[in-house]
C-alpha cells in the first residue's frame, strides 16, 4: 500500500503535476510519524503510510490559499470530509489541490498504550485484530480495538467524499453508533455531568492544540487571541474560563465540525473533546434533521438556515 | 535599589505637551511630588494603564531634572492611544528604571558626541543630550542631526530652537524628508544628510530612529570611516516583564530589556538579524 502511494506521489512530483506533497514522514520509531511536506522525489524516501498516520492533513492546506502551485495531499476517508468543509468555506482552493485518497483500517494510538500502563515502547506489529507491542519491559498482545484512536473506534465513514484519485477502494458509511458517549452523559444527572466535565476540563492547560489542529478552526484571528474581544486570555485563570473556552470553541465549529476527532487525538491531557462536538452534531441531527458537515461542498450550514417550525429552546428543559 | 520587579508605583500625569500631531510628551511625578525613581540616560520605564496594558517607554527627561520625568510617546497602539486620550491629573503606574544606560560616565566622557535621530527616535536621545548639556564641561563638541517626515513631525522643536541651538559647542542640523512651505532648512533623508555633513571620526555617534534609518545611517558612518565600536544605538521590541525573564524580547543570547536597550553596534553584530 505504502509503495503504491509513494510511486503515485513520485509520478505527480516528477511530471510537475504538483510541486509539493503533504504526507507523513517516518521519524525516530514505529509510532513517530509526523506530517511533512515533500518537494522532491528523493525526499519521498521517508514517506510512510502505516497504522500511526492518524493526523488529518487537510489542516495544512489552509496555509496554501492563493498560491498558484499545486499541492498533492494524502487523505484518509475521514480527512476528506474536512477538506470538503474547507472548500465550502473558501479556505482552500479546490483547483490547487490534488487529493490522493487512501483507505484506512483505523489508526493506532501509542498514547492509549501508555495510559494502559504499557511503556518503553520499541516496536509494534498488527495482525488482524491483535496488536503485539514490544517494550523495554517485555512483549504485550492487545486487542486492536483497545488501542485505536478514539476517532477511529467510532469511525463514521470509510467513504472518500472528495478525491482526484484513489489508491485501493473507498469504503462505506459505518453503522457504528458514534453518539453512545454523548447518550451516556445525557442519561446522567445534572450533578454527575457537572462533576464529569469539571474533572475533564480542569485538566486543560490551554495549549490550544485542539484549536490549532482543528480543520474547522481556521479563523485568521481567533476570538481568544483578540484583545478587543473581552475574552482573550492565554491561560485558564479559573474554572469559568476552562468552561468558556471549550463551550465557545465547540460552538464556533458547531455545524462545521466533521467529527474528524483531531481535537481528542492531540489533547495532551486526553480530554474527550469530541464529546462536546458530537453533542452539537447530535443536537443538530435531532432538532433540524440529519446533517453531516463536509459530506458535500454545497449544502447549507444548519446554523445559517432555519425553518418556521424549529423547536423552541424550551425543548432542552423538557429533557427530550 | 528597588528590588521589587513586579509591583509598580503610582505616578500622576502633571503636564501633557502636544509635540506633533501624533506625539505627546507626558510629565509624570509621584502623587506627593517628586520623581518616581532615579534613572540614567537611555534607561526605560514600564508605564501602564490598568485594564489596558503595559508598555516600555524610554525616559526622555534628563536625570538632572530633579522634579519630574518626561515621556515622549507616539500614538501607535492600544496603550499609547489611551495615553494620548487622557487628561492632566490622571494616574498611571510606573516601574523601573530598566535596561542599560548610555555610557555617559565612561566611554562618552571627554569625547565629541554626534547624535543622530529620526522621528520619535529623538525621545531616548533627548535624555542623553540634556544630560551632556548639563555637564557641558565633561564632554567635547556636540553635534545633533535630527530629521523627520515634515516640520510638524519634529519632536521637541521648541526646545531644539530655543535652547539647544543657543548652547555653545552644540550644533544642531535639522532636516525633513520632503520640501515644505515655511521650511528653509535642509531637505532629505537623515543617512544622506549625515554623509553630506561629513563628520570627522574622532567622536562617538549615537543613533536612534526607525530600523531602516539606523541601518543606512550606520552604513553612512562606516563610509565616513567610523568604526562600529564608536556607534551606539538603542532598540525596542515587545516587552512584558522588563527584567529579562518573560522571554519575548530575546534576541540571540541577549534580552533587549535587560542587556539593552542600549547596544554598541559591534555588539549587535553578534546577534542574529531578527530586529
Amino acid at each position: 500500500m505504502q509503495e503504491m502511494i509513494k510511486s503515485k506521489l513520485a509520478e505527480l512530483l516528477s511530471t510537475g503535476a504538483v510541486t509539493k506533497v503533504i504526507g507523513w514522514k517516518r521519524g525516530e520509531n514505529f509510532y513517530d510519524v509526523s506530517p511533512a511536506a515533500f518537494e522532491s522525489v528523493e525526499s519521498l524516501a521517508d514517506f510512510v503510510y502505516d497504522d500511526f498516520c492518524g493526523a488529518n492533513l487537510s489542516k495544512f492546506l489552509v496555509k496554501e490559499p492563493g498560491k498558484e502551485s499545486k499541492v498533492a495531499v494524502v487523505l484518509k476517508p475521514c480527512d476528506t470530509f474536512s477538506l470538503n468543509q474547507l472548500i465550502k468555506e473558501n479556505r482552500v482552493n479546490r483547483e490547487n489541490i490534488f487529493v490522493l485518497g487512501v483507505p484506512c483500517e483505523g489508526k493506532l494510538s501509542e498514547e492509549k498504550m501508555r495510559v494502559m500502563g504499557i511503556v518503553g515502547l520499541t516496536g509494534c506489529k498488527v495482525e488482524g485484530d491483535k496488536v503485539t507491542v514490544e517494550t523495554l519491559y517485555g512483549t504485550e498482545t492487545l486487542d486492536k480495538n483497545d488501542v485505536l484512536l478514539t476517532k477511529c473506534a467510532t469511525c463514521h465513514s470509510k467513504k472518500h467524499v472528495i478525491f482526484d484519485e484513489l489508491i485501493g477502494e473507498t469504503g462505506e458509511d459505518s453503522d457504528v453508533d458514534r453518539f453512545v458517549g454523548v447518550a451516556e452523559l445525557e442519561a446522567m444527572s445534572e450533578d454527575e455531568r457537572y462533576e464529569f466535565w469539571r474533572n475533564e476540563l480542569s485538566r486543560c492547560i490551554r495549549c490550544n492544540a485542539c484549536r490549532n489542529a482543528c480543520p474547522a478552526c481556521t479563523c485568521e484571528k481567533c476570538v481568544f487571541d483578540n484583545d478587543a474581544s473581552g475574552v482573550a486570555a492565554k491561560s485558564n485563570a479559573n474554572s469559568f474560563e476552562e468552561n468558556m473556552f471549550h463551550i465557545i470553541r465547540a460552538y464556533h465549529v458547531a455545524g462545521r465540525c466533521t467529527d474528524c476527532g483531531e481535537c481528542s487525538r492531540v489533547c495532551p491531557q486526553h480530554i474527550p473533546l469530541h464529546l462536546l462536538n458530537r453533542k452539537f452534531i447530535k443536537d443538530i441531527n435531532t432538532f433540524y434533521g440529519d446533517f453531516q458537515a463536509g459530506a458535500d461542498a454545497e449544502s447549507e450550514h444548519p446554523l445559517v438556515h432555519f425553518t418556521e417550525n424549529d423547536p423552541e429552546p424550551s425543548i432542552v428543559k423538557e429533557g427530550k | 535599589m528597588n528590588n521589587e520587579t513586579l509591583i509598580p508605583k503610582v505616578g500622576i500625569v502633571t503636564d501633557i505637551r502636544i509635540d506633533t500631531p501624533d506625539v505627546k510628551t507626558f510629565r509624570v511625578e509621584r502623587p506627593e511630588g517628586g520623581k518616581v525613581f532615579e534613572h540614567m540616560p537611555g534607561q526605560c520605564a514600564m508605564l501602564s494603564v490598568p485594564g489596558v496594558g503595559e508598555g516600555m517607554f524610554s525616559i526622555t527627561s534628563s536625570p538632572t531634572n530633579t522634579e519630574y520625568m518626561e515621556f515622549s510617546i507616539k500614538k501607535c497602539g492600544c496603550v499609547t492611544n489611551w495615553l494620548h486620550a487622557m487628561e492632566v491629573g490622571q494616574m498611571i503606574t510606573v516601574r523601573g528604571p530598566y535596561g542599560k544606560n548610555f555610557p555617559v560616565d565612561t566611554e562618552f566622557k571627554g569625547k565629541d558626541l554626534l547624535f543622530i535621530a529620526g522621528g520619535i527616535g529623538l525621545a531616548p536621545l533627548r535624555s542623553v543630550i540634556n544630560y551632556c548639556r548639563h555637564y557641558r564641561d565633561q564632554y567635547g563638541k556636540i553635534d545633533i542631526v535630527y530629521g523627520s517626515r515634515s516640520m510638524d513631525d519634529l519632536v521637541d522643536y521648541n526646545e531644539i530652537i530655543e535652547e539647544w541651538c543657543h548652547d555653545t559647542g552644540v550644533s544642531v542640523h535639522l532636516t525633513i524628508d520632503r520640501e515644505q512651505e515655511g521650511w528653509d532648512g535642509h531637505v532629505g533623508f537623515v543617512p544622506n544628510f549625515v554623509k553630506e555633513l561629513g563628520f570627522d571620526t574622532n567622536k562617538v555617534a549615537i543613533i536612534c530612529g526607525p530600523p531602516i534609518m539606523i541601518k543606512f545611517t550606520l552604513a553612512g558612518l562606516q563610509e565616513l570611516g567610523f568604526d562600529k565600536t564608536q556607534v551606539y544605538t538603542t532598540m525596542e521590541l515587545k516587552m512584558k516583564c522588563a527584567v529579562g525573564k518573560c522571554g519575548r524580547c530575546n534576541i540571540g543570547h541577549k534580552y533587549v530589556c535587560k542587556d539593552g536597550p542600549v547596544f554598541r553596534c559591534d555588539e549587535l553584530d553578534e546577534l542574529p538579524d531578527e530586529y
Binding site: - | 513586579l6 490598568p50 489596558v52 501607535c76
Partner: protein, 337 residues
C-alpha cells in the same frame, strides 16, 4: 539507609507537617496534586503530563490588583501567600529543570514570587524505575538512577529508600522521623544497576551533542531544519506548556468589573502574537518561531549560562507534540549536516 515500608503512613506524616504534593492518577493520566486521604497516588508512572515547573512557576498567578476611581489608581499587592510544601515524586529531569529555571528567575533582579516558592518547597525526588523510550536526560548529565533534590528516594520491593541531601531535606526527615526503619540499601544498588542497564538500551539516551558545544547564534541560523519543521508545526503551545524549562510568560490585565487584576501566565513563543507589538512583529513566520524556541534552548541559554542546556531531556515534547516534532529531531538534524 532509611527505609519506609508503609507509603501511606509516609504521606500522612508529611501531610501532617507540610502541604504535600505528589503524583495522583486520574483516568490514566498522572499529575501532581495536593495529597488528601484516599487519593489515588501513582508513583510508578514515570512522567506526569504537566511538568513539575508548576510548583514554582504556576501557569496563572495574580500579582496585583488596581482599584480605579476617576483618575485615581490604587495598587494592591495580591501576590499569593506561600506556605511550606513538599513536592514528592519529582523525577531527575524535572529536578534539573528547577536549576534551569533558577538561572532565569533568581538572577538579578530576582523574581520574588518564584524565590518565595523555591524557598518554601522541599523537593523529594524519585529514581526512575522504568525509563521510557522518550527519555534522553542522560545527554544532559542527569542521573535518573540517583536524581538530585533535597531528598532522593528509591521505590524498591522492600519499600521506599530515603536519602536526605540538603539541610531542607534533613529538616523534613527529622520532622517525620517516626515513619522510618533501617534497610540494608542493597535493593537501591540493584535498582541503580537495573536502571543503568535499561538506559543503555534507550534509543535516545546517547545523542551526539558535540556539534552544539560552544556554538554561536549564527551557526545554525539559516539551517534548513527550521523550514522543514515549520511546514507542519501547528503553532500550538503543547511543547512549551508540557516543557519543564519553558518559562516565557505574559502579563495581562483582567477587568473584574469591580477592579482590575494583573496576572501573569505561561506564554508560548510558538504563538503568532508572542512578539507582536504596535508597530509590527519581528518573528512573522513559524520557521522563525520554531528557530527561536530550539535555538534558545540549545544555543542562547547555554551561552548565557556556562554551557548549561535549556533542555533536560524529559521527553514530554517527544510524546505530546500533535505533529511529532521535537527537540531530538532538531538536535539530530543540526548535527547531520
Amino acid at each position: 539507609m532509611k527505609l519506609v515500608k508503609d507509603l501511606s503512613a509516609l504521606y500522612e506524616a508529611i501531610a501532617a507537617v507540610q502541604e504535600l504534593y505528589l503524583p495522583v492518577e486520574n483516568k490514566g493520566r498522572v499529575d501532581f496534586k495536593l495529597y488528601e486521604a484516599g487519593a489515588n497516588v501513582d508513583i510508578k508512572t514515570l512522567k506526569t503530563v504537566r511538568s513539575a515547573k508548576d510548583f514554582f512557576f504556576t501557569q496563572t498567578e495574580t500579582l496585583m490588583g488596581f482599584k480605579v476611581e476617576g483618575k485615581n489608581i490604587e495598587v494592591e499587592d495580591l501576590r499569593p501567600e506561600v506556605r511550606p510544601f513538599v513536592a514528592f515524586g519529582v523525577r531527575g529531569c524535572d529536578a534539573r529543570s528547577f536549576e534551569v529555571l533558577d538561572k532565569v528567575f533568581l538572577v538579578d533582579p530576582v523574581d520574588t514570587v518564584y524565590e518565595a516558592r523555591r524557598k518554601a518547597g522541599t523537593v523529594v525526588t524519585l529514581a526512575c524505575g522504568r525509563p521510557e523510550e522518550t527519555c534522553f536526560c542522560t545527554n544532559f548529565g542527569i542521573t535518573p538512577e540517583a536524581p538530585a533534590g533535597d531528598v532522593t528516594t528509591w521505590l524498591t520491593e522492600e519499600g521506599l529508600y530515603w536519602q536526605a541531601n540538603t539541610d531542607k531535606g534533613e529538616a523534613l526527615t527529622a520532622a517525620i522521623a517516626a515513619v522510618f526503619t533501617e534497610g540494608d540499601g542493597k535493593a537501591v544498588e540493584e535498582q541503580k544497576k537495573a536502571i543503568s542497564d535499561i538506559i543503555a538500551k534507550l534509543p535516545l539516551a546517547n545523542l551526539d551533542m558535540t556539534h552544539l558545544e560552544g556554538v554561536k547564534e549564527e551557526t545554525f541560523w539559516g539551517h534548513p531544519v527550521w523550514k522543514d519543521i515549520s511546514e507542519t508545526c501547528l503553532a500550538c503551545g503543547t511543547c512549551t506548556y508540557v516543557c519543564p524549562t519553558c518559562q516565557c510568560y505574559d502579563v495581562r490585565d483582567f477587568d473584574c468589573g469591580n477592579g482590575i487584576e494583573r496576572f501573569r501566565c505561561w506564554d508560548s513563543c510558538m504563538y503568532s502574537d508572542f512578539t507582536r507589538m504596535a508597530h509590527g512583529n519581528n518573528r512573522n513566520t513559524q520557521d522563525q518561531r520554531c528557530r527561536q524556541r530550539y535555538l534558545h534552548k540549545l544555543v542562547y541559554f547555554p551561552r548565557r549560562n556556562e554551557g548549561m542546556f535549556g533542555c533536560v531531556g524529559c521527553g514530554r515534547c517527544v510524546a505530546k507534540c500533535p505533529s511529532k516534532l521535537n527537540i531530538v529531531k532538531v538536535i539530530k538534524a543540526l548535527g547531520g549536516k
